[in-house]
Symmetry: C2
Subunit: 492 residues, 2 copies
């Protein structure tokens, strides 16, 4: 491929940007901060969507769609939420363009079309949704409401990175309403578990499930749960959040229900979301200096077949054999691609599919055809072997499963190596600055200490792990008493 | 159900609004002109999406995603397109809110966050997409580009109707780029055929395929193809359009490619789209005074089962039998729902599922159980029959197919009855004003006559049917010579 390779060890950040561009995943657009998700990148996102959507439906949720715009007066209602997002809102103020009288062929916002109330492009949809739920909920019989939305949202960003931080991104946001606190809390934890199951079993990324500190909590939530993954540079990436919203939105929007016993009470709420940011995690955890590495369960193409021939007769014979093999693979639900382009040589094709992270490559030449074999290459560990065509379908199906597991194990081993229990400030600095990993350390539980540590090291508390061991210790910074360790890391 | 029924014959428009609300399909939101698509309505839209998406992929297209916003300078580039949409654009002018100094707790757009260039919320994406394609296309080897996008778009509307006309709506927009005029024209027609196949085979709505007159053409297109359906009030609804864009966008955005022969030329383009408007067509064509009627291929629930019992023993025995039957149906890919709510009586449930348009209802009481039968009700023609449980799965599968066909035939017969060849102005007025149907009439081919007829009757030319018979005639209004008839109707 005609592109400059950048090594992870040289410049991880440039390696990432380069890979996202060269593997045709996404690119910057003419709109500051907004990206174009290219077909190959979007195909991976679609695989993620399909699986998540299935998991949401299996846990009783339905999809719906709410407006893109939030009237300012609704946006303001939940104060913490409004405050949290106010500084990054795109604001619609006019609804019509007209010809610019001073500039022929150009348009200007028509001053007569100024809105009496500005519209906020949703940065998240709690406000518009809870204003809607108000009309849907009167009695306990109307609960629970279990709704998810696939949508675009806008959070203005000055410094953007493809997939990781963009002004517009795609996501899903679940918004549920419950009669009891316990039920809402159970839902919050259930969806966190759905996310961690998705991350580990489909993305092949081990995650730490935990609770955010107050500093890092979602604006408007009583408690934010999260899953955190470790990238190859030892930084953390928050991959999904599930919020227990308490009665905050119900109170802001006056949403009460009559219980079985006839008592009026505010409704309990959750919200939870993952976004195209997951694409960033997927790329950063598994890929290598040759390009993308995709876990088979999320690869749009799982097996690519490349014929190698000199004569047209050989070509046709190999195509016929591939046709047979790919048919068998397809029957097992394996997604396949035959690369029969005559404009490129096999070496070029090999490099291209490596760059694009296709898990398994089959190449067949005249000698393979004569021997009843095929050359099989694994993308993840870059091994090649000659395999018999007898039972190739089951062989490949098993191999895909093995690759899926192996990627997870590799990521898990990496994380274990980079995950350190530290007991004092020097050890902490060594992990954050030199070893570049996660530091599991005692913290005195105050916002001040957390902020101070961030200021000194750029490391933040990623989460307090769920089911955390309670033990006596002292804070690495202040020496004040602590009851548990928390996970510190630099993060995306 | 506790809602007021409105008859189609009394007030078709109110009947529609009432049905959309009561069947839980959609509702107006707090944002003027924007709708909330409720879970049941969204489930139908998802069925449509899945089928269309499959048909797009089967014809070689991939999905991608382009930004929500279009910088004003790009929006202006294709002049006709800009002119056509300028009057209905939501315009983002600021990117940050700040506390209102005069009004504690309230927010205002921060004047310091005023954008140097306004952003248009996409009313359609040709501009942003062609500005992107410019960088993707150098040579004939980069063509064709066959991309579709599922997205929300905003076209400001003052008078809105749920699904039919809303400020924000959901749609898909295909945008393709080709090396030759012929290839682009073939693509335009191919996608029109995909739409008509979807309308007829899945929505069970017969459509007229045709070409729009210049007056009704998409802003920026050389030719607009469309499919038009007839609603039960005899009005037309444009259900999908496929545009041959010529080289207009390539010229506006300077997109040239080098041909095999080394010659530089502008790229040829198409775009095509259908939207949540299709929901309006689906509702209006098939439904009746009792509620929604859904074609089985798009029904989220195809079969609902209602147990009828007095004692808990009967209840359990019937549930056990339903479990068995529904398992058989599920194996055949039929989507089923068991309505075992103990808070409602069977009569209430029957009415609810009728309102929601579930094609087939199974009800089983103790006598049915003893006899090995079930009461089966068809939603479309409201017949009931007692059916043996032997082979019930195949029976229901065949019945669903029969209902699908029968709905199409019913709609086709209706359209035939309301489709009139007219030969003079009085006959024309009679069809448009009294018979309320489509008038197939000679027209002199001028914009002036078309506009005059619209002014006099509110009827517009819906399309010039494809493969139209060429014959000599005289224009119904002017008496000027005409070579072919065109389809006139009032429309949504």
């Amino acid at each position: 491929m005609a592109f400059e390779k950048i090594k992870r060890s040289e410049n991880y950040s440039e390696w990432y940007n380069n890979l996202v561009n060269n593997a045709d995943l996404a690119e910057h657009s003419a709109v500051k901060g907004c990206m174009v998700i290219k077909p190959y990148g979007y195909a991976i996102w679609e695989k993620m969507q399909q699986q998540l959507d299935k998991m949401f439906k299996d846990t009783g949720h339905s999809n719906a769609y709410f407006p893109l715009f939030v009237p300012k007066s609704l946006f303001e209602k939940e104060e913490k939420n409004a405050e949290g997002f106010a500084k990054e809102c795109a604001i619609v103020t006019h609804y019509r363009l007209k010809a610019d009288p001073n500039n022929p062929g150009k348009l200007i916002p028509d001053p007569d079309s100024k809105l009496t109330e500005e519209l906020i492009v949703r940065p998240t949809s709690e406000a518009i949704i809870w204003n809607t739920y108000k009309n849907w909920i009167q009695s306990y019989r109307d609960l629970p409401i279990l709704i998810n939305q696939w949508a675009n949202v806008v959070r203005w960003e000055m410094r953007t990175r493809l997939f990781l931080r963009t002004a517009e991104f795609l996501w899903q946001e679940g918004h549920t309403a419950h009669a009891t606190k316990q039920e809402a809390m159970d839902e919050t934890v259930q969806m966190l578990n759905v996310y961690s199951e998705f991350a580990e079993s489909f993305m092949a990324i081990p995650v730490i499930k935990g609770i955010k500190t107050e500093n890092e909590r979602f604006a408007g939530a009583d408690e934010t749960f999260c899953i955190e993954g470790m990238m190859q540079d030892g930084k953390a990436l928050q991959m999904g959040t599930s919020h227990f919203l308490g009665q905050n939105f119900a109170k802001a929007f006056e949403v009460k229900f009559q219980s079985k016993e006839g008592k009026l009470d505010y409704v309990w709420a959750t919200s939870w979301g993952v976004s195209t940011r997951l694409m960033g995690a997927l790329i950063m955890v598994h890929s290598d200096d040759e390009g993308l590495v995709l876990p088979p369960k999320l690869a749009p193409i799982q097996v690519v077949a490349v014929p190698i021939y000199k004569t047209e007769e050989e070509h046709q014979a190999i195509l016929a054999k591939f046709d047979e093999i790919l048919g068998q693979l397809k029957k097992l639900g394996i997604s396949i691609k035959l690369d029969d382009r005559d404009t490129y040589k096999p070496g070029f094709k090999f490099a291209e599919w490596e760059l694009k992270g296709v898990p398994v490559r089959l190449a067949m030449g005249p000698r393979d055809l004569a021997n009843g074999t095929v050359e099989l290459a694994r993308r993840d560990i870059k091994t090649k072997e000659v395999v018999s065509l007898d039972g190739i379908d089951v062989f490949v199906a098993n191999l895909l499963e093995e690759i899926q597991n192996s990627l997870f194990q590799r990521a898990l081993s990496f994380r274990k190596e980079k995950y350190f229990e530290v007991n004092n400030w020097n050890e902490f600095l060594d992990v954050i600055n030199n070893k570049q990993g996660f530091a599991f350390a005692h913290w005195d539980g105050t916002n001040e200490t957390e902020s101070k540590i961030k200021e000194l090291t750029k490391a933040t508390i990623r989460c307090i792990p769920m089911d955390n061991l309670q033990e006596d210790g002292v804070c690495i910074l202040t020496g004040n008493p602590s009851k548990q360790r928390v996970v510190f890391a630099k993060s995306y």
